[in-house]
């Protein structure tokens, strides 16, 4: 049956699996003071950057690719993929994203939404004063 070496192996592998997440989280926490923005990637390329921390009200945006559509809803400081015609609906299940480092991915359409912390010198962001 299960031996103590098994437990040691499983625990060490579980800890190892948390390392990338911990690194992303730590780098996100350090930089979140400047507010956040969301980046939408299509096919691995940057498609659109949306400022989040100064955003008010709701906006929707539909991305159409050759494989289908993804509807993105921006509600105040949160962003979510609310509808898609992909078979697995993983991105829709992900729900609203708010904090730096959170992502929602639609693998079938190669669409990805990512929340990032604002870098003070990021030229892509136009800030509302």
């Amino acid at each position: 049956m299960i031996r103590k070496w098994d437990v040691a192996l499983i625990v060490s592998l579980l800890i190892l699996s948390c390392i990338p997440a911990a690194l992303f989280w730590a780098s996100g926490q350090a930089a979140s003071a400047n507010g956040t923005h969301a980046i939408i990637y299509v096919n691995g390329k940057k498609y659109k950057t949306i400022p989040l921390s100064e955003h008010h009200g709701t906006d929707t945006l539909t991305i159409r690719t050759s494989s289908g559509y993804n509807t993105i809803l921006i509600r105040d400081e949160e962003i979510a993929i609310i509808d898609a015609d992909c078979p697995d609906q993983v991105c829709v299940h992900e729900g609203f994203l708010k904090n730096p480092g959170q992502t929602s991915v639609c693998l079938p359409h190669k669409v990805m939404v990512e929340v990032q912390a604002n870098d003070a010198s990021d030229p892509d962001i136009i800030r509302a004063r």
Binding site: M1, I2, R3, W5, D6, V7, L9, I10, L13, L14, S17, C18, P20, A21, F24, Y41, G44, D88, V90, H93, G101, Q102, T103, V105, L107, K110, M112, E114
Partner: protein, 174 residues
């Protein structure tokens, strides 16, 4: 004669794992995380790992199963996910089995974790973003759970397989 026996045994393993793969596709699975599933077909891989004396045969069974399951359902993307997951999973299981310190359950759980790790790597490559790694802890926990379940099932199956005269013949001639 021995060559035919060898061929039939390998074919049986491939057929069983393909059937498990197709049956698994019909089962409703609660949504935990993208890519998390039972991995029933891995049961055959684990059993083959312990029942067949030559490890080359295990790799062959796994590769044939992936090629066939790509043909039966799942597209070319699913093929890449399967191959990278299977390669890492089988590699790690071989290492941990050879090491000798771990029981079948530990080996199988490690295989489950490494399988998900391989899939995350391919997902990172396809979407061209390392942030997919954020799913790794959830997937590792899911992989541990299914890996332990598969390990227990394989252990019980092997215990009963060993009573068959056929099992001795596999050990001697394959």
């Amino acid at each position: 004669m021995n060559k035919t026996f060898h061929l039939i045994i390998l074919s049986l393993f491939v057929a069983q794992s393909l059937v498990l793969y197709i049956v698994e596709g019909m089962l409703p699975v609660p949504f935990i995380a993208p890519g998390a599933k039972l991995g029933l077909a891995n049961l055959i891989t684990v059993i083959a790992l312990y029942a067949l004396p030559r490890k080359r045969d295990v790799a062959l069974i796994l590769l044939l199963r992936i090629i066939l399951s790509t043909a039966f359902g799942g597209g070319i993307n699913a093929f890449f996910y399967s191959v990278s997951g299977a390669a890492l999973s089988l590699g790690s299981m071989l290492v941990f089995q050879k090491c000798g310190k771990f029981s079948l359950i530990g080996v199988s759980a490690a295989g489950g974790i490494f399988h998900n790790f391989g899939q995350v790597l391919v997902a990172c490559f396809i979407v061209e973003n390392m942030k997919i790694m954020l799913y790794l802890p959830v997937l590792a926990v899911a992989g541990t759970g299914t890996g332990i379940l598969i390990g227990i099932t394989a252990m019980v199956t092997l215990k009963h397989l060993q009573k068959l005269p056929l099992y001795k013949r596999i050990q001697q001639t394959c």
